[in-house]
């Protein structure tokens, strides 16, 4: 039986990891087409259109390539718990979802620069560090108000992309001890049912 959802996925890509994590947390089943972007075009799966790069989620006539939009699409599926896009907190969730999407793009660009170079060099990190600091300030304030999650009383799609940004920024030498509020929140994320790790990145960051 097929799920009706197909994800074109490239394992080491951080945006793809964010999508896999979100879909897994929400309990959304999908079929995977592995698309290794290091291979020449003719060796990539036929369904991937020219110019597209993973992640691409295909559901019938719908094709979505942006992780934030994929999160919304998944959270609006009837079988998914409403808490992931809690109607009572929808605007706060969407606002942080958009923030997370931009921060994830910054993380992806910084990693491309850092690991694509022949010599391991750290790219300019100003914007990414500023985003992490905004997240740390936000989660400090949330904790003081008795809240555990970014935008709603329970975990929502607003938490997924910021988690990936925080967890994988460890590879770029952002030290964990500078973000104590994010550390405590990330620990809760790792304890959620359906949590999955990024291959090659230990389950601790």
């Amino acid at each position: 039986m097929t799920t009706g959802l197909t994800l074109y996925d490239w394992t080491p890509d951080v945006r793809c990891y964010a999508v896999r994590l979100g879909l897994s947390l929400m309990g959304v089943a999908y079929d995977t087409r592995a698309a290794d972007m290091d291979l020449p075009t003719f060796q990539r799966p036929a369904g991937l259109r020219p110019g597209e790069r993973p992640p691409v989620l295909v559901a019938g006539n719908v094709r979505i390539t942006r992780p934030g939009t994929i999160m919304q699409f998944a959270a609006r599926q009837p079988a998914v718990a409403r808490a992931w896009l809690d109607p009572a907190h929808e605007w706060a969730i969407l606002d942080w979802l958009d923030f997370g999407t931009v921060a994830l793009d910054m993380l992806a660009a910084a990693r491309d620069l850092a690991f694509g170079a022949t010599l391991p060099v750290l790219p300019p990190m100003g914007a990414l560090v500023a985003a992490l600091r905004r997240m740390e300030d936000h989660m400090s304030a949330r904790a003081m108000a008795g809240h555990d999650w970014f935008a709603a009383p329970a975990a929502s799609i607003a938490d997924v992309l910021p988690f990936v940004v925080f967890a994988l920024s460890a590879d770029l030498e952002v030290e964990r001890d500078t973000c104590p509020a994010l550390r405590r929140w990330a620990h809760r994320m790792r304890g959620l049912p359906g949590f999955v790790v990024m291959p090659g990145v230990p389950d601790y960051a």
């Binding site: 003081m144 108000a145 030290e175 500078t178």
Partner: protein, 220 residues
Amino acid sequence: MERWQPVSVLSNIRRGEVAGVRIGGHEVVLWREDAQAATLHAWEDRCPHRGMRLSFGFVRDDALGCLYHGWQFGGAARCRLIPAHPRVRVPASINVRAYTVREHAGLAWVSMEGAEDFPHQQAGWPEHAQPVRTVHVHASVGQVRHAVGIAPDGGMAWHGPVGLAVHEPVAGQAMLHVVRVADGPSALGLSHWAERLRDAVEGGAQMAPVMAELAAGIAA
């Protein structure tokens, strides 16, 4: 380096939690037992087995487990279980380097030299200070201490109901620890004030207006 370093507000290291901190570039793991006494420990952040950071590990009751191969270290910093050899009595020589740690004024204080005396006990700081927040500042410890008025040999500065302390994770950076007495300004108000202070220090702005906010009283 001073003997006792304030390394974290206590709200960041609750029962059963593990946190890595740096002191002058040295990696230290703070962890609190998930047991009745809930004792706080500060050790070198390095597993004696293969060098994994113990701050990636997990607390099991009154022991800290290493994420890599699960060796468990008890309160006395001695290894007491090697999961691959559960029946083997673990040699007493396998242990982690332990530092001394004190909980005082809402903060965790660590002495990497293993000092036993804790002079700040007599400093007359408010007995029941509550943790607010630890904030990372991209500026030298000297700059931050000067900005908030901590004397070179003093552990903290108290501005009425608000206590401030600083430590150096690594040269050129500072962690500012904010605590308050119960009927002082709101934690949230102080947290936002600490952000303004951080931004002012990093931006090279005048400190007097930010510090004057403390004297005037912080609103939520």
